[in-house]
Point group: C2
Chain length 88, copies 2
Amino acid sequence: MKSIEEQSRILKAIAHPHRMEIILRLKGDGCNVSEIQNSMDLPQSTISNHLLILKNAGILSSRREGTTVCYKIEIEEIKQILDILAGM
Amino acid sequence: MKSIEEQSRILKAIAHPHRMEIILRLKGDGCNVSEIQNSMDLPQSTISNHLLILKNAGILSSRREGTTVCYKIEIEEIKQILDILAGM
DNA sequence: TCCATATATTTCAATAATTCGTTACTATCG
DNA sequence: CGATAGTAACGAATTATTGAAATATATGGA
């Protein structure tokens, strides 16, 4: 069971419009960075930065697949939280 | 259905250890500010500021009861989200 | 009205987050 | 090996958040 500090670090990582969009995209099939970039009108470095923040928070993992990198949601509960928010 | 921006504004308001503790206290019976202050070792102005942030986000409402002020959680979903986090 | 208690507001310094251009790395292909 | 595509890291400018002291306001009672 995580401490309040850990819980709030996770929440803070999600609590940003761009990062929420990124997670929503990863919830479906989308996986590599280019796809995310193409669907969001932001510079590559900005997307990469947000991905790193989510990864450092333990929310995403990444693995290289040849020349691209595939990101994936590691914490199931994150999806539940986004679902609750989406239904508000 | 709220926009991503609105959703992230709500999340951002919760995503702070002090504010999460405040919400946890309000989930139970606790209600007025002094009780919260006494159970958390923080200056009054700090608590008051956090309460304001939560109120501005629409998460809490307040009503005066004589000399004290009673706060209450207005968004049920917030409790669900905290429950999910607590179970992680 | 004056006081004591409860809560809110203002304000400021310190710190942290955000964005994005540029540069560096990594893997594949010819 | 050199070129190219995908991604990460660096660094600087801007903006947001945090915590707390000082101050203000509200309420009820003497």
